[in-house]
Symmetry: C2
Subunit: 217 residues, 2 copies
């Protein structure tokens, strides 16, 4: 008999300490922090010479950067989170998410590698992207393209490995499949996909302008 | 007892058919094809208005694109290659490489996902990059940056998962560690890394020129 709630049921994990936050409380706290970050970045970005679309993109980089650095960074650095007695938010987020994908608790090599790159490369990269838009830095387009592609590729591999492994790491239930697996991960396909296309197009325009300028000179 | 030569020795794989090409023959054939592709692309690229550095980069895109599409595409589409009786090059390359990493024969979900993206996204992307340089297409820099970053990220995850799993999938021997794991995979860190930096810098220059142009206007 397993002393943990994760799937597959024959997964061996010693010393699981049950989750204390309800799923409603986790989403409420998460939603409140995201709303606060968006509000602060939206207000501050009003002082920059940027379009409304760019202000929304700045909000995205702030939110996704903080999620990468704090939440995914916590996961990366705490291999035994499922044994923790502490009732803090970070521990319980990962205990809860592991219901949808036990590879997080079981320290699957791909999940740990991908999450560590996401936390410590794409996390800082997202915050630098926010700064780059605000200051109109010349590297703003390649940086946004690179971080978005990293998010997209990591997520594609995440979906593909779950599929190839036959979803054996998810507990049964629509909540785990549709809310955790499909919905939450889709966010990091759709938004990075849109930003990737936007940065790609802008870089093509800039390159064409540079080529024309060279031809004319 | 295992009836296959792969590690770890308790890996269960039925119906292994031994490799027929020697490692020397594999490298000689591979080297000859790479040399031929480089020679053809180098000669043909002389007709394009490109620099010598760009001609070398075109050779790289041809070689890496064909490796992705043909070799890695073959792996992606042939889950049971280690059971094949055929003595063709492609089968034996993967039987041999699986000595250095049995996850290829065992159809590890991460390896299959990463190799499939490499084969069918980065493979065609590499050949389009070759065409884009030859024709000075406006998307040549973001495309090269994106394909290089994909190669780089896939390889970083490859190195990281091998490390986290303690190299249990490699047969003992310096050849497997230094030649297969370190040397061969390093190529796809070093060259994509250089091209990534090159495209990044060029895009920054183009963006700065576009910004200056807008300011002056």
């Amino acid at each position: 008999m397993s002393d943990h709630p994760f799937y597959p049921r024959d997964l061996v994990l010693e010393g699981y300490v049950p989750v204390t936050w309800s799923i409603q409380a986790i989403f409420a706290a998460f939603g409140a922090v995201v709303a606060a970050v968006v509000a602060v970045v939206w207000l501050l970005s009003g002082r920059c010479k940027v379009t409304a679309v760019e202000r929304w993109i700045m909000c995205w980089w702030a939110v996704t950067g903080l999620i990468h650095l704090l939440l995914e960074g916590y996961f990366s650095l705490n291999p035994r989170f499922y044994q923790y007695m502490s009732k803090d938010f970070f521990t319980d987020v990962w205990k809860e998410y592991s219901m949808g994908d036990s590879r997080y608790a079981a320290r699957d090599a791909f999940v740990v590698s991908m999450e560590s790159v996401t936390a410590f490369v794409e996390g800082p990269g997202s915050l630098v992207a926010l700064y780059a838009i605000a200051t109109k830095a010349s590297y703003r387009e390649p940086l946004q393209l690179a971080v978005s592609l990293g998010q997209l590729y990591g997520d594609v591999l995440y979906f593909a490995t779950c599929f190839l492994e036959g979803f054996v790491h998810a507990a049964p239930g629509a909540q785990y499949f549709w809310l955790y697996f499909v919905f939450m991960n889709s966010i990091w396909v759709v938004i990075p996909g849109l930003i990737f296309v936007r940065s790609w197009r802008r870089m093509c325009l800039h390159t064409r302008a540079a080529d024309d300028h060279l031809k004319a000179a």
